[in-house]
Symmetry: D2
């Protein structure tokens, strides 16, 4: 398992909300992630379509996996999302995060969310702040805290 | 109970995800909503801080309640969020949505998310498309479908 | 000249600010535009690099050309931009707008701005409201007003 | 003249594009700026209303003045804008930038743009990266380069 895969595996293991979402990691490498999940009945909003926060959350997890895959602890500063099409219960969503740019201190990522028919249901872009903290050390610290 | 309160009560009743989040409605009127929730252990990300999708989802629900409170079915087109400060387990978050503008077809809302110490932990802005569908009719249709 | 080209030619002719920017239209069709410009000394900010508003404005023009190319008057509701790399005087910028989604009332476009070395210096996404007004009629009305 | 005023005065002096826009600085202090300008005929788009890039550019200048007023060179990472109402030739626009949050490395600002009737015509939010560079030193370096 390469470094990016190890990091994302560690993140997923501790990421209780991504587990609740039912996220499965399809492919990760530094600066890239593709993950998927199935929309359940408990994820709808008051109109019985998928809550916008679910689509955003899936994209946000892909964004976190792609940016942290470089081995430097990276924190989201901001993000935006457009919803080109509605999402329904039982849809299978796939989020693919790609790196638009990376510098010493910040990185920009775009995430495209598609459903099982390959219709784009969300377009997301986000910026991370790249701390100087090494991922391995952070993992070690978390271990001590438990 | 005024019309906006009725609409939001109906939305909350069917909004399984807002229920999972533990959202409580504090105040609603046409174009305005203030809601709150407590961050639970199952809402953290891989760094054991609150997943960005949770903060976004709370804001998104406030946005939906404020915009639909006018009695016209309103659908999110896009939204953006900045994260000025981290959110932790056991924090109580309050999201307040205010209307920045409203036209015949679209509306713009800003949502500020604060924690129990009144620190701003999220700033959100979103645009809705206002359909011609009356809320009462939509509620009736949903009842028939069940 | 096809309809999209005619519309964009009309827009450019009346678009005093795009003229000031020195925009040249490279290619347009319904839902797509590629335009370019050269950064001049009068476009810098207080740090002597290109003002962020210039990069945004170029993208905004590409966005307007792509969305109006369908023949329906389309108005910007909102837009966002990330700046992955700085822009300098004498850089030649190219903005390429593609359609992410289009519905009866709204459309979403992404614009990528690159410099002469093919470095991405801006990533822009925007939403338009598509009015029911036909472009040809609007042109006729503008002619009468003069 | 306090430090923030000096910094903004220096920025305006070198900011050729803000000069072209006709920006007048009304009030500045660390983390805050209020500036205004009048929309001229050469600022319209192809529909003879004010080009969206002009409104954005005014907001962007206010954002730069507010964030750099702290004395640390601050660079825009990203920004977003919503357009609640159209802007016309001869409108006088005022942009007021306030600080939503500031940390060691990043800051978030909101800018509200109003016209002469106090109608909100733009709502903007942006993130800066705060370099470790002191403003005074940067000014000195620019002086040498000339």
């Amino acid at each position: 398992m390469d470094q990016s895969s190890k990091i994302v595996a560690h993140m997923m293991e501790h990421d209780a909300f991504s587990q609740w979402l039912g996220i499965e990691v399809q492919e990760v490498r530094a600066g890239y992630a593709r993950i998927s999940m199935k929309v359940r009945r408990e994820m709808v909003n008051g109109f019985l379509v998928c809550h916008g926060g679910i689509t955003f959350s899936l994209a946000d997890s892909a964004f976190a996996f792609a940016s942290n895959g470089h081995g430097r602890l990276s924190l989201a500063l901001e993000a935006n999302i457009s919803y080109p099409a509605p999402v329904h219960v039982d849809d299978t969503l796939t989020a693919e995060a790609v790196e638009l740019s990376i510098g010493n201190r910040t990185g920009v990522y775009q995430v495209t969310i598609t459903n099982q028919d390959d219709t784009t249901v969300g377009v997301f872009r986000g910026t991370v702040y790249r701390t100087q903290k090494d991922f391995e050390e952070e993992i070690a610290k978390q271990g001590e805290k438990k």
